[in-house]
C-alpha cells in the first residue's frame, strides 16, 4: 500500500529556482509525487511579498500566493550568486533530474549556471526555463508582465466589452501557461531520457501557448476570409457568410445578468445539447416569457448561418427576462431539474458551495501548525487509479528543510551550516 501514497513521479528530484512566474511547474510535478526542492534566497523568495495574505498580515511567511502555489515542495535557502552557494547548487544538480528556472533571459548563464555548464556536471539533467517571450528571438529581452503577454498573444484584442478598451485578466494567468508548458516539456525530456541517457533543455515562452489558447476563429477568419475578430464581451458572434462573399455576424448572448450576478447559457443545437436548449425554451414559456417565436422554434433544424438577428434577439430576450426574475442559485437549481445547461458565473464562494466538488473530495484541509490553523485548499488536479495526486505537505517556510537536506542528505555538519549561513551562502 506504500505505493498508493506515493505519486507516479516519486523517484525524481526537481530543483525549483523559479519566481512567481514559474512556481506552478514544480508544484504540479510535486502533486504527482516528485521530490521538489524550492530554492530561495536567504531572506526568502521575493514573491512572498505578493498578497493576498493570511488574515491580511503582510508577512513573508503568510503570503497565500506563496502558499497556494508551492505545496508539495521542500524549501532551502541558497545564494546561487556566491561562489560557495554555486558550489552547493552544482552539487545538488549531480543528483537532480529537472531544474526549473524563470529568471530573465541570460541570468543563469551570467552566473555560470547555464544549461551547458550544468549538463557537464550531470548529462542526465533536464533544465526548463519559463519566460514570457522565450530565450531567443527579437522580444526575448522585452519586459513581459502579464498584461503585456495577454496583449501580444492575441488574447487582449478579443477580450472585453465592445464599448471599452480590450480587457486583461485580474490575475496573472499568462505565466501559468508558460509553467504548465515547461512541465510538459520537462516530462517529455524525462521520458525520452530513459532511451537516450541524456537530458536536454526546454524553452517555454508563455506567449506561444497563450496564442494557441486564442482558438481557431480569429486566425481562421483572418487568414482565410480577411475578417478580424474583435471583442464582443458577453455576446458570442456566430459568423454568417453574405452572398457577396464577405462575412456577417449574428450576435448571440452568452452571459446574461440575473438578480444577483451573472449566468451563462447558450442555445447549442448540436445533437447532445438539444435537450438543454429545448428545456430552456420550455422553461421560459412556462414562466410566461415565451413569445410567438419561442413557442414555434424548432431547434433541431436551426441554422446559425441563416437566422436573422431579430429572431435571435426575440428568443434570447425571453431567456433574459426570465433570468432577471431570479437569483443565480434559484436559476442553477431549476436548470438542473430541467436538464438545462445553465451555470452561474462562479466566484470562490460558489465553488466552495458546489456539491459536486465536495462529493468528489476535491477540497483538502491542510494543517498549518506554524499558524495554529487548518486551511482548506483545492486538492488534486486529477484523480488517479494508482498512486495519488494530492497535497502531501504545505508550502515550505523560509529555509525549513535546510537541516534535512544539507545535513541529513548531503552530509554537511552543523558547523558547516553555521559557516555557510555567516558567509551568506545559504
Amino acid at each position: 500500500m506504500a505505493e498508493n501514497n506515493e505519486g507516479m513521479l516519486s523517484p525524481y528530484r526537481v530543483l525549483d529556482l523559479t519566481n512567481e512566474r514559474g512556481f506552478f511547474a514544480g508544484k504540479l510535478l510535486g502533486d504527482l509525487g516528485a521530490d521538489v526542492i524550492k530554492i530561495e534566497r536567504s531572506e526568502g523568495d521575493p514573491a512572498r511579498r505578493f498578497g493576498p495574505f493570511y488574515h491580511d498580515i503582510p508577512d513573508p511567511e503568510k503570503s497565500l500566493f506563496w502558499m497556494g502555489l508551492n505545496t508539495n515542495k521542500r524549501g532551502i535557502t541558497l545564494n546561487i550568486e556566491s561562489d560557495g552557494g554555486k558550489a552547493i547548487f552544482k552539487k545538488l544538480c549531480e543528483k537532480a533530474d529537472i531544474v526549473f528556472e524563470s529568471f530573465n533571459h541570460g541570468y543563469m548563464e551570467s552566473l555560470g549556471l547555464g544549461y551547458g555548464a550544468l549538463a557537464e556536471i550531470n548529462p542526465r539533467l533536464i533544465m526548463a526555463s519559463i519566460s514570457g517571450f522565450g530565450q531567443h528571438g527579437p522580444y526575448r529581452d522585452y519586459k513581459a508582465p502579464s498584461i503585456v503577454l495577454w496583449a501580444l498573444s492575441g488574447q487582449g484584442y478579443v477580450t472585453g466589452d465592445a464599448d471599452r478598451p480590450p480587457l486583461s485578466t485580474s490575475y496573472p494567468v499568462p505565466y501559468f501557461f508558460g509553467a504548465m508548458q515547461a512541465a510538459i516539456g520537462a516530462l517529455i525530456a524525462l521520458y525520452h531520457r530513459a532511451v537516450t541517457g541524456r537530458g536536454q533543455y526546454v524553452d517555454a515562452p508563455a506567449l506561444l501557448s497563450l496564442a494557441w489558447a486564442v482558438g481557431s476563429d480569429p486566425q481562421g477568419l483572418w487568414l482565410n476570409d480577411k475578417t478580424l475578430v474583435t471583442r464582443s464581451g458577453r455576446y458570442w458572434p456566430r459568423p454568417q457568410p453574405r452572398p457577396d462573399g464577405t462575412m456577417g455576424y449574428v450576435n448571440v448572448p452568452l452571459t446574461y445578468p440575473c438578480k444577483d450576478g451573472g449566468v451563462k447559457f447558450f442555445p447549442f443545437v448540436e445533437e447532445g445539447m438539444l435537450p438543454s436548449t429545448n428545456g430552456m425554451t420550455k422553461w421560459a414559456i412556462e414562466e410566461g416569457f415565451g413569445t410567438e417565436a419561442a413557442r414555434t422554434v424548432d431547434w433541431s433544424t436551426w441554422n446559425w448561418q441563416a437566422v436573422s438577428q431579430e429572431l435571435v434577439d426575440d428568443i434570447t430576450g425571453c431567456f433574459a427576462r426570465l433570468f432577471m426574475q431570479h437569483t443565480k442559485a434559484e436559476l442553477w437549481e431549476e436548470a438542473q431539474k430541467r436538464g438545462v445547461q445553465l451555470y452561474p458565473v462562479f466566484t470562490a464562494e460558489d465553488m466552495l458551495n458546489f456539491p459536486q466538488l465536495s462529493i468528489r473530495g476535491y477540497w483538502e484541509k491542510v494543517a498549518h501548525p506554524e499558524l495554529g490553523d487548518t486551511i482548506t485548499y483545492p486538492g488534486a488536479f486529477t484523480q488517479l487509479g494508482v498512486g495519488s495526486c494530492r497535497i502531501r505537505r504545505r508550502a515550505p517556510l523560509i529555509g525549513e528543510h535546510n537541516e534535512e537536506i544539507y545535513i541529513n542528505e548531503m552530509g554537511m555538519s552543523r558547523k558547516d551550516l553555521v559557516f555557510l549561513k555567516q558567509a551568506g551562502d545559504i
Binding site: 486566425q219 487568414l223 451563462k264 464562494e349
Partner: protein
C-alpha cells in the same frame, strides 16, 4: 539517429471537441501514433462548429475542428452499435497503450469500454478520461461545454470591469487550461508504466483542474472570506497599468510601470521628464491615488502614436509595453515567426490551412512534427488492413455492412 520520445506509443483516441485533442497533440508532436475513432453518424462535435471554409457547414470544412487536430493522427470511422464494430474496437484496444475519451459518464460504459472493460482486454492500459465534472458524483453524466467551464472555474469572474457584469473569457478558455494538466498526468503515467509495468486510470474533472490556477484566490476566500474582485486592467502594485488607445482604428497598447525607475523612464519617453517631480505622480502610492488622471495623461501621448511605436519606444527604455495584437498582428508577429509558431498544411478539402501550430515549448534536442486534420475515415484502409491485419476481402465486407 535516436528514436522520437513517444515512438511506439499507441493511442486510441475517442476524444472529441477541444480538451481531448489538446491533451493528446503534444504526444503526437513527439512521435506517438494516434488512431482517432469517429463514426459517420456521430462525428466529432467540432466538425459542426464554424467558422467553415467558404461558409459551407460541412464536417470537412470546419476551422474549429482543423485547429484542434494539429497533432498527426489516423482517422477511422467505426459503427460501435454493430457487433463487428465492437470486435474491431476491441482489437484496437489491445493495440493501444493509451485509451483516451472525453465523454461524460455513460458513453464509454454503454460500449463496455470504461476502465474495467478496457483493462480486461489490456491489463496495463492507461486510460485517460476527461469531462466537465469528472466521472464520479451526481453531475458526472452532464455534457461539458467550455463556455460553461469558464463560468464555473472563476475565469469569467476574473475578466471583468469592476463596475459592471463580467465580460468573461473570449471563447472556451478552460479548454486550453484543462488539457495541459492531462498531458502532464499522461506522460507521468507512461513513465510510471515503463518503470513499474502498471497501467493507470486518469479521471479528470476539467472544472477541478482549471480551478488549480487560482488557488491563491480560493485561499483568500477560505482564509479571509474575501471573494474574487475583478479590477479591469489595473493592478494594485503598478501604475500606469492598462491598455491604452493608440493611433488608428481599434489600435491599442498595453503599458505597465512598476518601479519609480520605470516611471522616470516612462516620463522621459513621453518627453516630460519633469513629471517625476509632480507630487501627484511622484510615487507609486500617489500614482495609484491619481490613476484616472494618470491614464488620461498616458492616452494623450499614446493616442498620437501607433501601437507599434509605443511598444518599441517603451521597451527600448526598459518600460513594459505590448501591442494588443489582432489576428493579423499575430500572423505577422516577429517573435511568433521566430518560433515558427503558426505553420501551414495542405488539407484535401480546405486547401491551405495556415494556422496549425506545434507545442508551446521547444526542446533543445528534439524536433516536433505538426500534422493536419483528417477527413472522416481517411485512414480506414490503412488502419484496418495494415495495423489490424484485416484481409482485403473482410475489409470490403465491413464497408459493405456499414461497420466502417
Amino acid at each position: 539517429m535516436t528514436s522520437r520520445p513517444f515512438e511506439g506509443i499507441n493511442i486510441l483516441d475517442f476524444t472529441w471537441t477541444a480538451t481531448g485533442p489538446g491533451t493528446l497533440n503534444p504526444l503526437a508532436f513527439y512521435g506517438a501514433t494516434i488512431i482517432k475513432v469517429e463514426s459517420r453518424g456521430r462525428f466529432d462535435a467540432l466538425r459542426s462548429l464554424g467558422p467553415f471554409k467558404d461558409g459551407i457547414p460541412e464536417p470537412e470544412h470546419s476551422y474549429a475542428f482543423a485547429y484542434s487536430q494539429a497533432g498527426k493522427r489516423y482517422n477511422i470511422t467505426l459503427n460501435l452499435s454493430q457487433p463487428k464494430g465492437m470486435e474491431m474496437i476491441k482489437k484496437l484496444v489491445a493495440w493501444a497503450d493509451i485509451v483516451a475519451d472525453s465523454y461524460s459518464t455513460g458513453t464509454m460504459e454503454r460500449w463496455g469500454l470504461d476502465y474495467e472493460g478496457v483493462k480486461k482486454i489490456k491489463p496495463d492500459i492507461i486510460m485517460m478520461r476527461t469531462c466537465m465534472h469528472g466521472h464520479t458524483g451526481p453531475l458526472s453524466k452532464q455534457h461539458g461545454q467550455g463556455f460553461i467551464l469558464t463560468a464555473l472555474s472563476g475565469v469569467d469572474a476574473l475578466i471583468s470591469w469592476p463596475d459592471r457584469a463580467p465580460s468573461g473569457a473570449y471563447g472556451p478558455f478552460t479548454d486550453y487550461i484543462a488539457p495541459q494538466f492531462n498531458t502532464i498526468a499522461l506522460i507521468a503515467a507512461l513513465d510510471y508504466r515503463r518503470r513499474t509495468g502498471k497501467g493507470q486510470y486518469i479521471d479528470q474533472s476539467q472544472h477541478e483542474a482549471a480551478m488549480q490556477v487560482i488557488s491563491p484566490l480560493i485561499l483568500d476566500y477560505t482564509v479571509n472570506q474575501r471573494d474574487i474582485a475583478p479590477c479591469g486592467n489595473r493592478l494594485s502594485y503598478a501604475a500606469p497599468h492598462g491598455i491604452y488607445r493608440c493611433k488608428g482604428d481599434d489600435r491599442w497598447c498595453a503599458i505597465a510601470v512598476f518601479t519609480d525607475e520605470e516611471w522616470a523612464s516612462f516620463c522621459k519617453v513621453i518627453g516630460k521628464p519633469a513629471l517625476t517631480e509632480d507630487p501627484k505622480f511622484a510615487t507609486l502610492l500617489k500614482r495609484k491615488e491619481n490613476e484616472d488622471a494618470l491614464d488620461k495623461l498616458v492616452e494623450s501621448w499614446t493616442g498620437r502614436r501607433t501601437a507599434e511605436d509605443v511598444m518599441k519606444l517603451m521597451q527600448a527604455a526598459g518600460v513594459a509595453a505590448g501591442v494588443v495584437s489582432n489576428a493579423k498582428d499575430m500572423a505577422e508577429d516577429p517573435q511568433m515567426k521566430y518560433y515558427n509558431f503558426f505553420v501551414e498544411r495542405e488539407h484535401p478539402v480546405q486547401k491551405k490551412i495556415p494556422f496549425y501550430h506545434g507545442p508551446g515549448f521547444r526542446l533543445s534536442d528534439e524536433t516536433y512534427e505538426v500534422g493536419r486534420s483528417n477527413l472522416l475515415g481517411e485512414h480506414n484502409d490503412y488502419v484496418f488492413t495494415k495495423i489490424l491485419g484485416v484481409s482485403d476481402e473482410e475489409f470490403a465486407g465491413l464497408v459493405a455492412e456499414g461497420v466502417i
